[in-house]
């Protein structure tokens, strides 16, 4: 099976939700990967939509870069709604 490609599998569990990574499957080609993913990851009606992506095609951020990549957003509190205090009279906004 080493010749079969490793595909990462993403499942949308309900309409309106994002696809979420669930694991991987082996398959000779993409249509087969979809079938195998269906058999493996949606046996209990876990999904309404599937994506398969060859694992080799995924570019992942490296954990070493965690600080430069993600820490800078930690102090940008002004991006969050709770940062802005408004008088009660304004009501829900």
């Amino acid at each position: 099976m080493s010749d079969w490609t490793l595909f990462e599998v993403f499942v949308r569990s309900k309409h309106g939700l994002n696809h979420k990574h669930v694991g991987s499957v082996h398959a000779a080609d993409a249509p087969m990967a979809l079938e195998n993913a269906r058999e493996l990851y949606t046996r209990r009606s876990e999904g309404v939509s599937l994506w398969v992506v060859p694992s080799a095609q995924i570019t992942a951020s490296s954990p070493d870069e965690k600080e430069p990549l993600f820490d800078p957003s930690d102090d940008k509190v002004y991006r969050h709604a709770t940062f802005y205090d408004l008088p009660k009279e304004v009501g829900h906004m």
Binding site: M1, S2, W4, G23, A60
Partner: protein, 328 residues
């Protein structure tokens, strides 16, 4: 053979002071219950141990299909056939989840299967016992899956992220397996004929001790446990897990109206646990070495399936390549 008997290759567990800065950082994350992910730095021995543990675990799922498959074509009614087939199919799925988790560490499923086929890597010895009657389908679900679940529930908290997530998924799906098995036995004990009741008792007699052996040797004889516990790839000791299993199983056994073949089994008020008799470890090691009733058959079946299927897998690949070329 889930987290038991996994060789860590480590002779002595290091203290934090003895570790390199990288190792210490890694260990501190584990101590803080932060999951290790595939791309994080990890000691080579941790990586190797996990590959070994996950592959053994996956192989156990796959070989574990065989004793049940033995009765699949003889299931006594349509409902039981559906249930058993769904359960066996789940086991194939669980094997695949685990191989998938293992592959995040750069291991290769084919290479690991080679090691299974050559006998280099083991699977749970319980599956080297034959399934001799339909009652065994009940006993395997109840006792064997029950023992596996006790093990797997604690492995949900294992330190390696992909393994932990696979275990969570597996535990969720497996909750029906044990109930399915117990219900098979309950039906036979409550509504069955005398012959069926004898079939159930015979089955429990045969599987009781091997099920207890599933938790592996006593803690005093588990040289790899200390390292595995420090890495949190193992979360409870063999003896603790075994005791937990016995404590929760005996009331279920009594409800069935059956017994286990252990004259020393009795409730110990002072300990708050059941006491039980000595396990025959010579049998355990003998089966592990390959002398169980089904070791050879199980491996032969898996090997044949893999070898006889080679032309199918090659054809699918060749076809995919042709399609790709035609599209280019």
């Amino acid at each position: 053979m889930y987290a038991q008997l996994v060789d860590t290759g480590v002779k002595r567990v290091k203290t934090l002071n003895e570790m390199s800065p990288e190792e210490r950082h890694f260990q501190e994350k584990i101590d803080a219950d932060i999951k290790i992910e595939a791309k994080n730095w990890m000691p080579e021995a941790y990586r190797r141990t996990l590959i070994r543990q996950m592959s053994q675990h996956a192989h156990s799922e796959i070989v574990g299909m065989l004793p049940e498959k033995n009765w699949l074509t003889r299931a006594p009614n349509l409902k039981r056939k559906l249930q058993l087939l769904a359960k066996i199919q789940d086991e194939a799925g669980h094997g695949l989840y685990l191989y998938s988790a293992m592959e995040t560490l750069g291991a290769n499923r084919d290479e690991e299967l080679e090691k299974l086929h050559s006998g280099e890597v083991k699977y749970s010895s319980i599956f080297n016992y034959p399934s001799r009657s339909w009652a065994d389908m009940g006993t395997i679900g109840w006792l064997v899956d029950g023992a596996a679940i006790v093990n797997q529930v604690v492995l949900q908290r294992t330190s390696y992220g992909p393994y932990s997530r696979a275990m969570i998924r597996i535990c969720k799906e497996e909750s029906f397996h044990q109930r399915q098995g117990y219900q098979i036995l309950l039906e036979m004990m409550r509504n069955g004929t005398d012959e069926q009741k004898a079939m159930v008792q015979d089955s429990i007699n045969r599987f009781w001790w091997p099920a207890l052996m599933m938790f592996g040797p006593h803690d005093t004889d588990s040289p790899n446990s200390a390292q595995s516990m420090q890495w949190k790839v193992k979360r409870m000791s063999n003896d603790d897990l075994r005791q937990r299993f016995i404590d929760q199983t005996i009331p279920q056994l009594e409800l069935l109206g059956c017994t286990v073949p252990d004259p020393d089994l009795k409730w110990n008020e002072a300990r708050g646990h059941y006491d039980f008799g000595a396990i025959d470890w010579s049998e355990f090691y003998s089966v592990l070495k390959g002398n169980g009733p089904c070791n050879k058959d199980r491996l032969k079946t898996r090997r044949n399936a893999y070898e006889n299927g080679a032309w199918v897998r090659e054809a699918a690949k060749a076809y995919a390549d042709k399609q790709k070329q035609a599209a280019a």
